[in-house]
């Protein structure tokens, strides 16, 4: 038995002169939901397709459930489930027939009824695939990916192109997979999606992993706290050392600090001492979204 569901070391993939994946190391624990997050063209799909056996790597070592996916073994395919970016099912079969067809390929498939329930397709079971909406098709994709009762499920951008409510319900469905004890390897370019679904996140930009950790650890990546408040224009001015740290827009002043407790104390002491009222005061940590965008920005400018 292997320790990790996915174990990648120094993985590289080049297409001609283009380096799509530039030497990445990743480990995914059994039973966790892992998200590979990054902008379009970062190399996420290339990476996940190497793990699925659809592409051959140029360099490095890859182990998925103890198998080398490039061998394309049937026993390996029995143990994984794949949900590609593009739907690939026969348009003239209905939902139930499609799931049944794929169920037959696996040695230990899940009961069709259970799959229909998990993916919320029960009411659509006798509808032809060609008549399904985009969101419903995606559910069917997941159903087909799940029907073989895989130990590891790959989801490549499961909610791209969804409206917000469809995204919410897809998220709920994916969260439910966790209760089934499955390892999930997810790619996405939505920070929010990674934050909502994943136990651990790796951020990939330009073929490299630029940050990795739990959503919480990533949030701590950036230490600056922002304190915002408003002053009336008639009020006095802040002490010079605070002004130098502040940026203002209109009446609103923002101060960024690595030592929020001290800074907040200085501001409030000044306020009480001078009688200037601080209005709408907020203390905020940067959102994961901000950190993500900052990391992407930094890595992209570094390369070019």
């Amino acid at each position: 038995m292997t320790e990790f569901a996915v174990d990648i070391a120094n993985l590289k993939k080049t297409y001609g002169n283009i380096e799509a994946v530039r030497g990445i190391d990743l480990r995914v624990n059994v039973g966790e939901v892992f998200a590979l997050l990054g902008p379009n063209g970062a190399g996420k799909t290339t990476t996940v397709e190497i793990l699925e056996g659809h592409r051959k790597r140029t360099e490095g070592s890859v182990s998925v459930l103890g198998h080398d996916p490039s061998n394309n073994e049937r026993i390996f395919k029995q143990r994984i489930g794949i949900v590609l970016q593009k739907t690939g099912v026969e348009p003239y079969l209905n939902v139930e027939e499609t799931i049944k067809l794929f169920a037959g390929y696996y040695r230990h498939p899940q009961p069709i009824q259970q799959i229909l329930e998990i993916t919320g397709l029960e009411k659509l079971r006798s509808i032809r695939v060609q008549k399904l909406s985009g969101g419903q098709l995606r559910r069917l994709d997941v159903a087909v990916g799940l029907v073989g009762n895989p130990e590891l499920l790959f989801l490549d951008e499961p909610t791209t192109g969804f409206d917000p409510s469809a995204r919410r319900s897809a998220w709920e469905m994916i969260s439910n997979l966790r209760t089934l004890g499955k390892t999930v390897f997810l790619t996405t370019h939505y920070m929010e999606e990674a934050e909502y679904l994943a136990d651990r996140v790796a951020i990939m930009v330009n073929g490299k992993i630029v940050a990795e950790g739990t959503p919480k650890e990533l949030a701590n990546h950036e230490s600056e706290t922002t304190i915002r408040f408003q002053l009336n224009s008639t009020d006095g001015t802040l002490p010079q050392h605070l002004v130098s740290k502040s940026t203002s827009s209109g009446d609103s002043i923002a101060i960024k600090t690595d030592t929020p407790t001290e800074t907040l104390f200085e501001i409030t002491r000044w306020s009480i001492d001078t009688g200037n009222q601080l209005k709408e005061i907020t203390v905020s940590r940067p959102s994961l979204e901000e950190i993500y965008l900052k990391l992407v920005d930094k890595s992209e400018t570094k390369v070019d």
């Binding site: 699925e52 056996g53 659809h54 049937r74 395919k77 029995q78 994984i80 794949i82 590609l84 593009k86 739907t87 690939g88 099912v89 026969e90 348009p91 003239y92 079969l93 027939e97 067809l101 794929f102 037959g104 390929y105 696996y106 040695r107 032809r128 087909v144 073989g148």
Partner: protein, 257 residues
């Protein structure tokens, strides 16, 4: 389930999908029957010279339209449906599943062969009932054998041609451009009796003409032997080998950009 029963199970689903696509099913059947009716209406009663005697043009058209049925059900349908499935991502998904790819191809090709057999039966029956054509008797084994080899060859070529089809939108153009000219110069639509001899020899090296020739021999009422045209069958087998090699080397399971 073992792989053999998986392959057989594929036939069931492929059939279901084929018959539920009304446009594809309709054209597969209607086209050859339409041509059979039109050509016989126009020329059916004319006298027609065949090796060993004189008969009617309908004796020419029934095997010709059988050849057309095979190229359309096997070559055209396989090429179009494989391109469509490839563009949709179905082929990629199959390859990501434990189903062996040969079982998938087996299911699709067998379905097309079943369609071909049905279509050929209808055409032959129509030939007997409406046009008084004699069915192959002594030559029946040769007829069946030619049909089998021809269908298999055209299915393989249908798979091979997808390697040069960029996407599903381009499929009809590429498929028709590759098969229609051959149908015109291979004794399918027009008898080639008056054609220049260089053209006739030229068409011999392509798969349609030998196929039609072998079928014509099987339908020739004056044929004294068993009617096996081994040279023609040999050309078909050669094309099957070429098609297989092309498919192995260039076939794509993924949509092309």
């Amino acid at each position: 389930m073992n792989t053999l029963s998986l392959a057989i199970r594929q036939i069931k689903y492929e059939n279901l999908a084929f018959w539920r696509n009304p446009v594809s099913a309709f054209f597969t059947f209607i086209f050859p029957l339409m041509f059979l009716a039109i050509f016989n209406l126009l020329f059916g009663n004319r006298e027609f010279e065949v090796p060993g005697g004189v008969t009617h043009t309908s004796t020419f058209y029934v095997p010709s339209i059988i050849a057309l049925s095979v190229t359309s059900a096997c070559y055209t349908n396989v090429a179009m449906s494989m391109t469509f499935s490839r563009d949709q991502g179905l082929l990629k998904r199959i390859r990501g599943s434990p189903l062996p790819v040969w079982a998938f191809l087996f299911g699709r090709i067998t379905t097309m062969l079943m369609v071909t057999i049905l279509l050929v039966t209808i055409v032959a029956t129509a030939g007997v009932v409406f046009y008084g054509v004699d069915l192959p008797g002594k030559t029946f084994p040769a007829f069946a054998f030619t049909l089998l080899i021809g269908s298999a060859t055209f299915c393989i070529l249908g798979i091979a041609i997808t390697s040069v089809i960029p996407n599903a939108q381009a499929a009809p153009a590429v498929v028709n451009a590759s098969i229609l000219p051959l149908l015109f110069v291979s004794d399918v639509f027009i008898p080639m009796n008056d054609a220049p001899s260089w053209l006739i020899s030229f068409t011999q090296i392509f798969p349609v003409k030998p196929f039609t020739s072998a079928l014509h021999t099987a339908f020739n009422p004056f044929e004294t032997g068993l009617g096996f045209e081994f040279t023609d069958i040999g050309v078909l087998v050669l094309w099957a080998v070429i098609g297989t090699l092309i498919a192995i080397r260039f076939f794509s399971w993924e949509p092309r950009q």
